[in-house]
């Protein structure tokens, strides 16, 4: 988990050097545009484009694959369910007693498109975080006038997730030290009760810690510091990369309906 928020790849590649604000905005535009694509060749082109950019920044496809793994529990469920739930031409069906499930061609196609879209979003965001780092990204968000409370929310989550994890570890260790053993499932009443209390205690402790952190910030004069300029104005090269990324996505988006038009005309 440690290296998760630090920049990765070549430390000084062109992409690492692009102004973080320009990078953030162009990558977000890229994701927004690419997510509306509906044909797989266009989506695949976008994935290849991102992998190419990653290679430029010294990030191997393996690096992306390892990170994409974390998204699977969330997006994966939908990808698995879609082929079974979308109506259409049936390609296979399984019967178990009185129940029958069938896989439709349209469902598979939709799941494929969805996974490509997710892959694009995850790749793009990982490219952004890996070439910018948490610090740079937060600076960019602040200078892009993202409400301070949102930026702080991200910063605090990252900062305190380790403290909380350690706290949970210590608490469960202390419980085990008094011979507590987790039952086989959450339905085991005592396990459920104990875990509930552990979570409750964690919430209370976090709330108290939150208050102490707030006081510590006040003690150092937390107020409204005048908007500070931490980053210089982007230069020509920065704009160039930003435009390149956005225009690539925009081109795909504009060409896609055109492409389908040709397909229908050629038929």
């Amino acid at each position: 988990m440690d290296g998760y928020f630090a920049p990765a790849g070549f430390p000084d590649s062109v992409l690492h050097r692009v102004d973080p604000r320009v990078k953030t905005v162009s990558i977000l535009c890229f994701v927004a545009l690419v997510s509306t694509l509906t044909s797989w060749p266009a989506l695949l082109l976008a994935v290849l484009f991102l992998i190419l950019l990653g290679a430029l920044a010294g990030l191997s496809p393996l690096y992306f694959a390892r990170r994409a793994f974390w998204v699977f529990p969330f997006a994966g469920a939908l990808m698995i369910v879609l082929p079974f739930t979308v109506a259409g031409e049936i390609v296979a069906s399984v019967e178990v007693g009185r129940f029958a499930v069938s896989v439709s061609k349209e469902g598979i196609a939709q799941a494929f498109i969805l996974s490509l879209r997710v892959a694009n979003a995850v790749l793009a965001l990982n490219l952004l975080t890996a070439t910018t780092g948490l610090c740079g990204l937060m600076k960019a968000l602040r200078e892009l006038r993202v409400p301070l409370v949102f930026v702080q929310l991200i910063e605090f989550t990252v900062r305190y997730i380790f403290v909380l994890a350690e706290e949970i570890q210590r608490m469960s260790l202390a419980r085990r030290a008094r011979a507590f053993r987790t039952g086989r499932s959450l339905l085991h009443k005592r396990t459920f009760l104990t875990l509930g209390q552990l979570l409750g205690a964690l919430f209370m402790r976090s709330a108290e810690r939150g208050e102490r952190i707030y006081y510590a910030m006040l003690a150092r004069g937390l107020g409204n510091p005048s908007a500070k300029k931490e980053l210089r104005w982007p230069r020509g090269g920065d704009w160039g990369w930003g435009i390149c990324i956005t225009v690539f996505a925009l081109t795909l988006r504009l060409l896609e309906p055109g492409g389908r038009l040709w397909q229908t005309l050629l038929k």
Partner: protein, 281 residues
């Protein structure tokens, strides 16, 4: 020497009804090293929060450098009295050491050059310059503590207040922290610590203030810690050195040694007086 902090008849009640301070008074002299001693729940932490203007007196007065703490001076006092919290995880919140140390100076609206200079000075003072780009969660507890102190030093306060500074520190980190504190003391900064560590108070402080139940029990030099009545009343214990010599009344030592240094001197003096007993085990 002038008093830099004066507290008069301070009262404070928490929202849940707990009366934490019940008419506490004390004064702290410029350039002194003060230990505020008291058992858990004596009101130490509540008092510290008043010294930095985080809490405003419900009744009574707090004066810092001659100015009374009111809603008008509450912002000013934060740059004069630096408060170091017990748990550095409560204080060090930014994603890099540099950013965290610059938090205070930025709140003081200093120019970028001034901020840079102050952060560099503060990190040098706690010997953490090489960690400036590190994330706080990569640091050890002792290192986080030093960053927390740097974060306060960067505001260049005249008084530094530390809540239970040695809590959870290993011996090496304690030594480090004592070094930092003595360097600050040489720079004429007034240092106040709140603790229940009587050994630390006896060794380090030149002034001791004992509080209990939200009131001051006694103010004086470290010899207060040899006073049996006071130590009992305050639910404290004698420093180890004092305890040893209390059990040896036949030595007729007065005043009782409180620090290792004083004990060594007393023993050497005794040896000089009775050379024939030198081999006594």
């Amino acid at each position: 020497m002038a008093n830099v902090i004066e507290v008069e008849d301070l009262h404070f009640r928490y929202r849940d009804g707990t009366e934490a301070l019940k008419g506490l008074s004390l004064s702290i002299q410029e350039g002194s090293r003060v230990a505020i001693l008291g058992p858990n729940g004596a009101g130490k932490s509540t008092l510290l929060l008043h010294l930095n203007g985080l809490y405003l007196p419900a009744r009574g007065k707090v004066r810092v450098l001659g100015r009374e703490i009111t809603p008008q001076t509450e912002k000013w006092v934060k740059s004069k009295v630096g408060l170091v919290f017990q748990d550095p995880d409560d204080q060090v919140f930014s994603s890099s050491v540099w950013e965290d140390v610059s938090f205070g100076p930025l709140n003081m609206n200093l120019s970028p050059e001034q901020v840079k200079a102050r952060v560099e000075n503060a990190l040098r003072a706690v010997q953490m310059e090489e960690y400036k780009n590190k994330a706080p969660y990569h640091l050890s507890y002792g290192q986080k503590k030093r960053v927390a102190i740097a974060g306060v030093l960067a505001m260049e306060p005249e008084i530094i207040v530390l809540d239970e500074p040695m809590g959870y520190l290993d011996p090496r980190s304690k030594e480090n922290l004592l070094d930092i504190l003595s360097r600050l003391h040489r720079r004429k900064i007034t240092i106040v610590i709140a603790t229940h560590d009587v050994d630390l108070a006896a060794e380090w402080a030149d002034r001791v203030i004992v509080i209990k139940n939200g009131r001051t029990l006694a103010e004086g030099d470290a010899s207060l810690l040899t006073d049996e009545r006071l130590v009992r009343e305050a639910d404290l214990r004698f420093p180890v050195v004092v305890e040893i010599f209390r059990r040896l009344p036949e030595l007729n030592l007065f005043p009782l040694p409180k620090t290792v240094e004083e004990a060594v001197r007393a023993i050497k003096a005794l040896q000089a007086k009775e050379p024939d007993q030198r081999c006594l085990n």
